[in-house]
């Protein structure tokens, strides 16, 4: 399941969704809004998404990770819109036969998401608002 949505997600429900009898582990990553960034206090954040391309890139990343790490299941939920400090931004859950595959697959997905999926963060601090600069890609 791959979803891009404004509303928050229920972590327990998501974890139970990916549970399977042929998996020996579930590994999850939850990204949240940090209070400090680049030496400034963040009051809130907004996220913009190019949904069509984001969904197709997430699908590709899921396929790559599933093949590379023999994952049994992958779920990704990424939020957009206005968020407050401590709010959930992204959930990635994977199930796999063994922990090496689970950790590797989850790490691969978040690393690739941060390079390739067209979503942008804007942070609001006491000095004003600023787009978070993304990594240059090859």
């Amino acid at each position: 399941m791959i979803k891009i949505q404004q509303e928050d997600f229920d972590i327990n429900k998501l974890i139970n969704r990916i549970r399977s009898c042929d998996s020996g582990c579930i590994v999850s990553f939850i990204g949240t809004v940090r209070e400090h960034s680049r030496g400034k206090e963040v009051t809130r954040m907004s996220l913009e998404v190019y949904e069509e391309l984001a969904l197709s890139e997430l699908k590709k990343i899921t396929e790559e990770a599933s093949e590379k790490y023999s994952l049994n299941g992958v779920d990704i939920v990424h939020r957009f819109g206005d968020l407050l400090v401590g709010d959930n931004i992204v959930y990635i859950g994977v199930s796999a036969g063994h922990r090496e595959q689970g950790f590797g697959g989850c790490r691969y997905i978040i690393d690739e998401l941060k390079k390739r999926v067209p979503i942008w963060k804007k942070e609001y601090t006491e000095d004003g608002e600023e787009w978070v600069e993304g990594e240059k890609i090859e």
């Binding site: 990204g31 996220l47 913009e48 998404v49 190019y50 069509e52 391309l53 984001a54 197709s56 890139e57 990424h78 931004i89 992204v90 978040i110 998401l113 941060k114 390079k115 390739r116 999926v117 067209p118 979503i119 942008w120 963060k121 804007k122 787009w131 978070v132 600069e133 993304g134 990594e135 240059k136 890609i137």
Partner: protein, 80 residues
């Protein structure tokens, strides 16, 4: 040919537009149109990296654009 250009994130603020239509010569590639847009908007021109998608997909920059295509311009991503 007439193409639609969409802007995202900081590029929307640099151009003060979500989208616009451009009339361009037939046969232009993604790279040529990217240079054209960088010339029009100085702030986009100054960016270290300007990403472009064609009809909702990443394509090689030598891809020839055709009438009615939709191009999207945006900076490096920062989600997650």
């Amino acid at each position: 040919m007439k193409i639609k250009i969409k802007y995202y994130a900081s590029f929307k603020e640099f151009t003060n537009k979500d989208e616009e239509f451009l009339d361009l010569e037939e046969g232009m590639t993604l790279a040529e149109i990217r240079n054209y847009v960088k010339d029009i908007y100085e702030k986009i021109g100054r960016q270290e990296q300007v990403l472009v998608a064609l009809n909702g997909n990443f394509k090689p920059l030598d891809t020839v654009v055709t009438d009615g295509d939709i191009l999207s311009f945006f900076p490096p991503v920062s989600g997650g």
